[in-house]
Amino acid sequence: MPPTATPLSSHPASYRLEGQSVVLAGDWRASDPALPVLEEGAFHSLRPGTPLTFDSTGLGTWDSGLVAFLWDIKRAAEAADTALDTAGLPPSASRLLGLLPDRRADPPAGPKPQPNPLARLGAATIDSLTETGIVATLGAQTLRGGVLALTGRGRMRWADILANTTDAGPRALLIVGVVNFLLGGILAFVGAVQLEKFAAGIYVASLVGIAMVREMAAVMTAIIMAGRTGGAYAARIATMLGNEEIDALGVFGIPVSSYLVLPSVLALTVTMPFLYLYGCLIGMLGGFTVAIMMLDITARGYLHFTVSAFGIGQFIFGLTKSIVFGAFIGLTSCRIGLKAGRSAADVGVAATRAVVVGIVGVIAIDALFAVIADVIGI
């Protein structure tokens, strides 16, 4: 919609200085872009000591546009050591003027000087160490809260856990299923194109099986959960922070770790292994569908090669990873929410950061697991 143009007045606003008197005329409307402004140095010719008066007999309608102009005069007069006699003004204009301060607010301090790169590097290092410590402490507190709750000595509201778990589990089944199905299919497709050249098409089954169980199902599911649930946790906690809800919890002495973080982390650590198993199955199903369509192999053969491709060790490896991923996403996203700023934009920043940290972290942890697996020979 175009901005509403106020009808320009038939009496344009004007002012002139007659001796010690300001003569105002016309309609002074703030929405009029051509409103006069006080010229720099207009008051040079004033005689200090005699007050400045106003003549508003020619004044038409007015609003804060006039008051803004009068305020400029007031401040200029203050600077020129001249008193104001507002008797000639409309009474409410002079009263509005009276509400305004005599002097302009001090200009805000300029930007702080940037510290040198070495200092910044040092600060960043200390910050990241502190952050790691805080996340670890939060994790420990959460674990302690969990243990206390399970042994009946601490408090945890099962309703929260249930709500969080439903959201992280059953509601995520569809998207986890779709992504893993497609992933399995893509793996089978890429594998089939290559392996068929060596007449080893049946090994597609092993390829898909081992890739899903060892890496893909766990990592993809974790990435989905980081985007879906981690972002939501961070946004929720950041919003609570902005509304002082976290402060209110603190005043009651309700630990954030057991009221907010524990249900979130627990929900993710409990559901992730199930989602992982489900992702494996669906991924293999995707691979199976593509392989059967593209290659000349039997369903029995595919199944046989899938089952013999990996041992129980691989499964446990994947399962462990998915639990670690779940705890990591839960903890980091809650922490990011807790240290967010207090504005609406900060909520967005926190959600984005939680997703980015979640995804990058999951992949980094996965790499770490690969190294460990290599060392201990799984």
Partner: protein, 256 residues
């Protein structure tokens, strides 16, 4: 209805879905009047205000602005009418990712063709009215509750609207600032000819500034008295209104 009626409600019923808040509200706000909406907490004052700024459509009845039926108008026309409204929300409702200055400037930047310099001056002026010139570059999260209220008021004045709605403007303010705010409201009315609808519990301030009003009852869910706060105090026989206006506990209310 006279020429001078700015806002009129006629047999309006307000409800959130099936939940009835107030029924049968009829009132008239004259141009240049300061109209008080009174009543106990939770009786529907903010809801009534909401319906008068076009945020809640009444289930029955008619709401008109200078004789024009608000809800019968097209959405574009309603936008034009809304530009005449300045609203202070009960919670301030400042945009949290902008400084106070930007909060006041945004409506001017979006809806007028003023130059940035002029906007800056007007922002200083509006914040100066409420005594916040020093806080122009602060974020809403960095100021006190009372300051947030005042900043919300400065934002409501941003476009020099001629109809102002204030939801508890002086809640959370010290007596001196509160009295200053009353001066501001009176001068806005006298100087700019603004019509003001105000929700308030501050009796001294109500007696001083309001010249008309309505009293909503939470139990019967309907208005039980019309008139200026001073009239209601001196002449209204309804025990509940009387108790409210004189800060007494209602008779028969035995709670400690």
């Amino acid at each position: 209805m006279t020429e001078e009626t700015m806002l009129a409600l006629d047999g309006v019923t307000l409800a959130f879905g099936p939940k009835l808040i107030q029924r049968d509200i009829s009132l008239e706000v004259r141009r240049g009047s300061i109209f008080a909406i009174m009543g106990g907490s939770g009786c529907g004052k903010s809801t009534l205000l909401k319906s008068m700024i076009g945020l809640l459509r009444p289930t029955t009845g008619r709401f008109s602005v200078q004789g024009e039926d608000y809800w019968a108008a097209t959405p574009a026309r309603r936008d034009v009418i809304n530009h005449r409204f300045g609203v202070l929300f009960q919670s301030g409702a400042l945009w949290s990712s902008m400084t106070l200055g930007e909060n006041v400037a945004l409506p001017m930047q979006m809806l007028t063709q003023l130059a940035p310099d002029t906007i800056r001056r007007m922002v200083e002026l509006k914040l100066g009215f409420v005594g916040l010139s020093e806080a122009i570059d602060l974020m809403p999260s960095e100021i006190s509750g009372g300051m947030r209220k005042r900043a919300g008021l400065a934002r409501a004045l941003s476009l020099d609207p001629d109809i102002l709605f204030f939801d508890e403007p002086s809640a959370g303010l010290d007596p001196i600032t509160s009295a200053r705010l009353d001066d501001l409201i009176l001068n806005l009315r006298d100087g700019l000819g603004a019509t003001i609808v105000i929700v308030s519990h501050e009796l001294p301030s109500l007696f001083r500034i309001a010249d008309a009003g309505i009293f909503l009852d939470a139990r019967s869910k309907t208005p039980i008295a019309h008139g200026s706060p001073a009239q209601l105090r001196d002449h209204c026989t309804d025990p509940q209104v009387h108790a409210f206006m004189t800060r007494e506990r209602e008779q028969g209310d035995n709670n400690p």
